[in-house]
Amino acid sequence: MDLSPFWLSIRLSVTVTVILMLLGLPLAWWLARTHSPVRPFVEAVVALPLVLPPTVLGFYLLLLLGPKGPLGPLLEALDLRLVFSFGGLVVGSVIYSLPFVVNPLKNTFREIPQGQLESAATLGAGPLDRFLGVVLPLSASGAVTAAVMGFAHTLGEFGVVLMIGGNIPGETRVVSIAIYDHVEQLEYAEAHLYSAGLLIFSMVVLVLLYSSGRARRQARFR
């Protein structure tokens, strides 16, 4: 059995999760704290992937990121290919899993008592210091949830990858696509193996998350 789809899926999920945590932390913080009138629109844009079918996203991404799309000349100048490539999957998955990372982070940040931050400020902590020393430790479990959600959601992604992947073995042929392929070709034994593998892996990851101490502590505070 060809294991490359598994490694590809995991590689995609890890890459996307890392990028989303780096992008999501500041974005979620801003959304949690700002009173800007732009906030509802930004929140809506972030939440769009929750509402739109992945095929819509894939459809537009193909048009936007293709060599003949609006970004075509720029991508050509940078020698970047964002359709039918791993890079394209990363871009698509980052957009599609964005709300699954930003929303848990945003909710966790909202619950941080303003008083604690103010005390830290009066003690001389600057904004970055407050973020790293007060906010992050308090929101650790929320951050873990966000990361796992982003990871799991990307792992199971099918629609966007189907639209912009091109089914290239070793590059865009992730597990969900491989399963679909095998079913299409009536190779049900292989489909079973891939599906069971993904199911078990996801169960293990989720069980680990939910049985971890942090999750239990967080649950008690709720």
Partner: protein, 273 residues
């Protein structure tokens, strides 16, 4: 007052009066009326043939009182649904493998399988003049990405791969070879510009031309059918429809001159009798 109302509906022994019965009869009658008006023909058809199947069924229903319910999809997935008991009367596949399997597995009526259309492969490069020589068009330096249907699941993709081999090109090395899940997706990759060119079916191009009004002049190169094995699209009578005279009549109609004319007009070839 309330107990008087209740007594109106029930006799003392608890049995119901006749009050509700006319209403129930009316409802039942309406339900039955619906079914008796026209026979239903449930057709499972490969996505690429859907529009043509609907046209043929419209022509067919001019002579037979029948309501056509057309379900389209990828042939492999339709096969899966039929194998799981989906109640289709006939199956129009994009290949011969699925109908053969259904026959072997006893899900289709033996001897009812036949080729209803032959697919025609076309090389399409939007925005470019491709000329008349396929080998030259494929050898063009500026051609970087090529889209075909998945050769393992779509006969058009398998044929495209055969053609590439016949012209002596190692496609996977020479181009960014992109596989669409179906010939429909391969078409979309090319139409959207994500892929430079590719192999699609003549029927799709005709549909696209009539829907968008674009002439596609000079962008197409019909592939000689000798370069690949025949793309046989086969139909079969399913077990569910085995005793259904309408389903049998429909399959016979599929081989009749009016249907053959529609099939050819749609961009397919018809089998020589």
């Amino acid at each position: 007052m309330g107990s008087r109302q209740r007594r109106d509906w029930n006799h003392r022994d608890g049995s119901a009066t006749g009050r509700g019965r006319p209403l129930a009869a009316l409802l039942l009658g309406l339900l039955l009326c619906n079914g008796a008006a026209a026979a239903e023909l449930r057709i499972a058809v490969a996505a690429n043939f859907k529009q043509t199947a609907e046209e043929i069924c419209r022509a067919f229903s001019a002579g037979h009182p029948v309501r056509c319910l057309v379900s389209s999809g990828a042939s492999g997935l339709l096969y899966g649904k039929i194998a799981q008991g989906a109640p289709f009367d006939v199956f129009l596949s994009a290949d011969r493998e699925r109908p053969e399997r259904l026959e072997r597995e006893g899900l289709a009526v033996p001897g009812s399988r036949f080729t209803y259309a032959l697919g025609r492969l076309v090389f399409w490069r939007p925005g470019r003049r491709v000329g008349t020589d396929l080998a030259a068009a494929l050898a063009d330096d500026s051609l970087q990405s090529l889209a075909i249907a998945n050769p393992r699941s779509a006969p058009y993709g398998a044929a495209a791969l055969e053609v590439l081999r016949a012209t002596g090109i190692d496609a996977a090395k020479r181009y960014r070879l992109v596989q669409g899940e179906s010939v429909g997706q391969a078409f979309q990759f090319i139409a959207s510009g994500a892929a430079d060119a590719g192999f699609v079916s003549a029927a799709q191009l005709l549909q696209y031309r009539s829907k968008t009004g674009r002439t596609l002049e000079g962008e197409l190169l019909a592939v000689e059918s000798s370069l690949h094995g025949p793309i046989e699209q086969q139909a079969v009578l399913l077990r569910v429809g085995a005793n259904d005279p309408v389903a049998q009549a429909f399959l016979r109609y599929l081989e009749s001159p009016p249907a053959l004319a529609l099939i050819e007009a749609a961009g397919y070839s018809v089998p020589v009798p």
